[in-house]
Assembly symmetry: C2
C-alpha cells in the first residue's frame, strides 16, 4: 500500500539522517489531507483486525434523483447538511471510539470555529455513555499531530464567550499527546488509547 | 412528540379492546417506514440521555457542485454508493452498538438479499471487537418486530450458497426476541440488550 503524506511533510524528513532516507521515498507522494491520512490509518487498523473505525459519509439532503433507463440513478439536486455528530466512530477492544480529525494552518493555537455546536453536544453525550472521545489535530505549518481528549475541547468551547476563541498550542502540548507519524499506520492514534487502557485510566483525567 | 407508525399498524390495534382505544389515536398517522420508527426511537433514547445512536448518512459519490453567488452550494451530479458498514451505530452504557434495521413483506421468512457482503463483513469485524451487533427485523405483513443477534444472520449468510436464501420466521422466533412496539420509544430495542447486560451474558449465546 502506498503511503501518502500531507503537503510539506516530506520537507521535514529531508533534513533527517541518511537512515531515514529510505522513508523519504514514501513521503514523496504529496497532496493528501489529514483526513485522508486518518482514513488510511483506519484502513490499516481494519485490515489488521485491530479496530473498526469508519468515517461517516458526508450528510447530504437529496432533493431530486433521475432514474435513466439501463443506468445508475443520478442525484441531480442535493445540498450539504450540517453534521449532527463527529466524523469518525467505531470500536476498539470493546471500547466505543468517537472523534474528529481537524487540520489548521495556525502555528500557535487551534481555532474553535473548526467545531460547531452539534459536534460539541455529541461529544458530551458520548462521554456520558462512557465512550472514548477525542480530537486529532494536525498543525500543518508545524507538521505536528496531537491527540486531545474531548473534555478539553468542551471546556474551551464553553468558555469561549468569555475568554478566547482558540485553544493555545501550549495547552494542547500540556494536556494532549503528540503523535509521531509513522508508516503503517500513518497516524498511530490507538497507541495513545492503549496507554490509557493498559493503566486502567480514563483519557479524561490528564 | 407525535408518534407515527408504519402502514397498516393501526389495523391491528383497531381489533383491540376498548382500553387500548386511547392508543389508537396516535397510531392514526400512518405512512412511516420502519427506519423512521427506529430513528424516532433513537431520538427518544438520545433526548433521555439513555443512549447515543445515529443512522449514518446515505453514502453518496459527489461528482459536481455548483456554488451560486449568495446561496448554498448545490450538488448537481452525484451517485448512490454501496454502504461499507451497517446503517446504525452508537454507544449504550459503555457498549458499542451496531445494527441494521430491515423491513420485509414476507410472512414466513426474512430474505437474505436484504444484506450485502460488506455489511456481513462489517458485522463480523465488530463482533471480533466485542461489539453488540444485531438486526432489527420488521415483518410488515405480520406487524411483528424482532431483535436477532448478528451471529445468526452471519451463519445463514455463510450457508446460503448451499442451503436457503432466507432465514425462516420459525428460526427468528426461536433464536431472536420479539419486540412489542410501544409509544416512547416506539421500538424499545435497548430492553433486549438490558436483558443481556443484567445477566452478564453475551447476546451471541442464545
Amino acid at each position: 500500500m502506498a503511503i501518502n503524506y500531507p503537503n510539506g511533510i516530506s520537507k521535514k524528513y529531508q533534513k533527517e539522517t541518511p537512515t531515514q532516507k529510505k522513508k523519504q521515498h514514501s513521503f514523496s507522494n504529496r497532496g493528501m489531507s489529514f483526513e485522508e491520512l486518518i482514513n488510511q490509518s483506519n484502513l490499516y487498523y481494519l485490515s489488521k483486525e485491530i479496530a473498526v473505525v469508519h468515517k461517516k459519509p458526508t450528510p447530504v439532503q437529496i432533493v431530486h434523483v433521475n432514474y435513466p433507463k439501463r443506468s445508475a440513478a443520478v442525484i441531480t439536486e442535493a445540498y450539504f447538511k450540517e453534521a449532527s455528530t463527529t466524523d469518525y466512530n467505531g470500536i476498539y477492544k470493546g471500547n466505543y471510539l468517537d472523534f474528529e480529525a481537524k487540520e489548521t494552518k495556525n502555528k500557535t493555537s487551534f481555532p474553535l470555529h473548526n467545531f460547531h455546536e452539534h459536534q460539541i453536544n455529541h461529544m458530551k453525550q458520548c462521554i456520558n455513555q462512557q465512550g472514548i472521545v477525542f480530537v486529532l489535530i494536525w498543525f500543518s505549518s508545524l507538521q505536528r499531530c496531537f491527540f486531545l481528549s474531548a473534555t478539553h475541547v468542551i471546556d474551551y468551547w464553553e468558555n469561549k464567550e468569555n475568554k478566547r476563541k482558540s485553544i493555545p498550542l501550549k495547552m494542547i502540548e500540556d494536556c494532549g499527546y503528540e503523535i509521531q507519524l509513522g508508516v503503517a499506520p500513518v497516524v498511530p492514534y490507538l497507541s495513545i488509547i492503549d496507554h490509557y487502557i493498559s493503566k486502567g485510566d480514563s483519557i479524561y483525567e490528564k
